[in-house]
């Protein structure tokens, strides 16, 4: 089910959290709301969920064309996964997952046995079979997150909303879960909107990235497009490492991997600059080199280990740097 957000503004007193924000989330897509803290991304997610309400005005939120602005959160059909999961800590995993079904009005509430079957089915879906009688505090962070996901899915939501889904996890679990979530999304095909401040996460995971800054949307597009064609210096800097080079009044942005390093003997005045190696870091497959240009500016360069070995560089050596020709 597609989500359509039109001209939403949200203020908290004198503070503007969202300013005239419009966004289309296509049916079945996995969309990332990416931005630094305070950019309004979580507020936007909460407005979609119905946990906050946009300021009165022309703004509109529609699921599959149907205006949901006046529908309370509980009847909007959204699955919401909170940053710290917000599991009910006095309930077992099974009771947590069954909650949404057990609070339905009596007429709509499934039989006990049906609820149990649904819980088991969801536990299997999130790969937590056998943990149904555990309490939240007996689970690891990654397991808790999947319980929260199963709980949100139990009500068969029309859209899935995730607030910083990996924010509270350590690096390794984060990576695994990220991959798992992508796969999971492809299996169930539910329109999903998630908030993150981690550009790598957003680029790797999503079909569509929405870069936000200061209550506004800076750019929307496929990860590759946004990365390769940033519309503003902010997006350039926010998505991955970048060198900012001043040349008089102008500022040029060059990504560290878009620079070739050559022996000083190969220096070509037409394209290259001479520079001196200041720092070398080569633990890992990618080596990072910091060089100092003739005008005193520093430049970060990323090379493969193999290239670095072939150059046989050490700190203090002179090299020629050349902007790599982009396809």
């Amino acid at each position: 089910m597609s989500i359509s957000i039109q001209s939403i503004t949200k203020t908290f007193g004198a503070y503007t959290a969202l300013e005239n924000v419009s966004l289309e989330v296509p049916d079945g897509s996995l969309t990332a709301l990416l931005g630094p803290s305070g950019s309004g991304k979580t507020t936007l997610l909460r407005i979609v969920a119905g946990l906050e309400f946009a300021d009165p005005g022309p703004g509109k939120i529609a699921f599959h064309g149907e205006d949901v602005g006046d529908i309370p959160a509980g009847r909007r059909g959204v699955g919401f996964v909170f940053q710290h999961y917000a599991l009910f800590r006095h309930m077992t995993v099974a009771q947590n997952i069954a909650f949404g079904l057990s609070v339905l009005p009596r007429a709509a509430r499934p039989q006990k046995s049906e609820i149990r079957d649904r819980v088991m089915e969801l536990l299997k879906l999130v790969k937590l079979e056998g943990l149904d009688q555990r309490r939240p505090h007996e689970l690891s962070g990654g397991q808790r997150q999947r319980v929260a996901l199963a709980r949100a899915l139990a009500i068969r939501p029309k859209v899935l909303l995730l607030d910083e889904p990996f924010g509270a996890l350590d690096a390794q679990v984060r990576k695994d879960l990220r991959r798992w979530l992508r796969q999971f999304h492809d299996e169930i095909g539910l329109t999903t909107l998630f908030v993150t401040h981690d550009q790598e996460e957003a680029l790797e995971l999503s079909d569509q990235v929405v870069v936000m800054r200061n209550a506004r949307i800076e750019q929307v597009g496929e990860p590759q497009t946004v990365y390769d064609n940033p519309r503003s210096p902010f997006v350039y800097e926010f998505l991955g490492n970048v060198n900012k080079l001043h040349a008089g009044q102008d500022v040029r942005y060059v990504r560290p991997h878009e620079i070739d390093v050559l022996f000083a003997a190969e220096f070509d005045p037409a394209t290259d600059s001479l520079a001196r190696v200041q720092h070398l870091f080569s633990a890992g497959p990618i080596a990072t080199l910091t060089v100092k240009l003739g005008d005193g500016q520093f430049l970060d360069v990323e090379l493969s280990r193999k290239q670095l070995d072939e150059l046989g560089l050490s700190v203090g050596d002179e090299v020629a740097v050349r902007p790599a020709v982009m396809a």
């Binding site: 946990l51 710290h84 917000a86 009910f88 909650f99 949404g100 009500i155």
Partner: protein, 309 residues
Amino acid sequence: MSYRPVTTESAPVRLFLIACAVLVLALFLLLPLAAVFAEAFRKGWEVFLASLHEEAALSAIKLTLIAAGVSVPLNTLFGVSAAWLVTKFRFKGRSLLVSLIDLPFAVSPVIAGLVWVMLFGAKGWFPQSAMADAFAPAAHLAASLAEYQGFGWLFSDLAVWLADPKIIFALPGIVIATTFVTFPFVARELIPLMETQGSDQEEAAVTLGARGWHVFFRVTLPNIKWGLLYGVLLCNARAMGEFGAVSVVSGHIRGETNTLPLHVEVLYNEYQFSAAFACATLLAFLALVTLSLKTAVEYFSGHDASGKH
């Protein structure tokens, strides 16, 4: 040569500090408690039991139980509502409300009692005579309802009271004063607890389709149950032990408006030391029961909280 942790003092210093602590404990806490029981039993079991069986004593116990029985449930309700309101919602005047909740703790109990005398006393804003006039139609209605067979008895006492609405120097005044003085206990206990818990779980319940009462009974209440119990316990202990405010509104009518603490004082002033201390043992016993229940609550809540995250 032996080493000791940097934060540990030498043996003599340690002994001295421990001795000080034990001395203070014995002198200020254990000695008075022991004295209460020693005095109570000085003239033997018979005098002790007789002092508790006496009519005025029984009436005082009954009155104390009624006052606590009304004020504790009321304050539980008030406390939970107040804590829920100020922790789960943000609104103008919120911090003023939080301070107001503490008002009964801030004023002297004597003032807390006098306020009600000034409001409902003979020379107060709403004296008994004026209220009798105001309640006359209600009294009439209650009186006619009392005529009915079956349920009429429910209204007979009410009719009598409405015809002659006595608040000061009577049970209603004692209940009001007790409720006022013990108002903050439950709210005070719950507000910090609910503040740290935040609203995440309630919001989660809302997105899952839970309506107001479901959110409260199935999510909020289970999360605060130990804090609530703790607050109720303290509230009860104070309600039964309250002296100052109740003393002002009660009028000390023996066998009628004396609560247990007031009864102890009356007996003491009449030089009936053994009887006074016998009644005091009941209050001391109440304190001990409260303490052990409090410890139990702490133990269980600690057990629960160990799995907080």
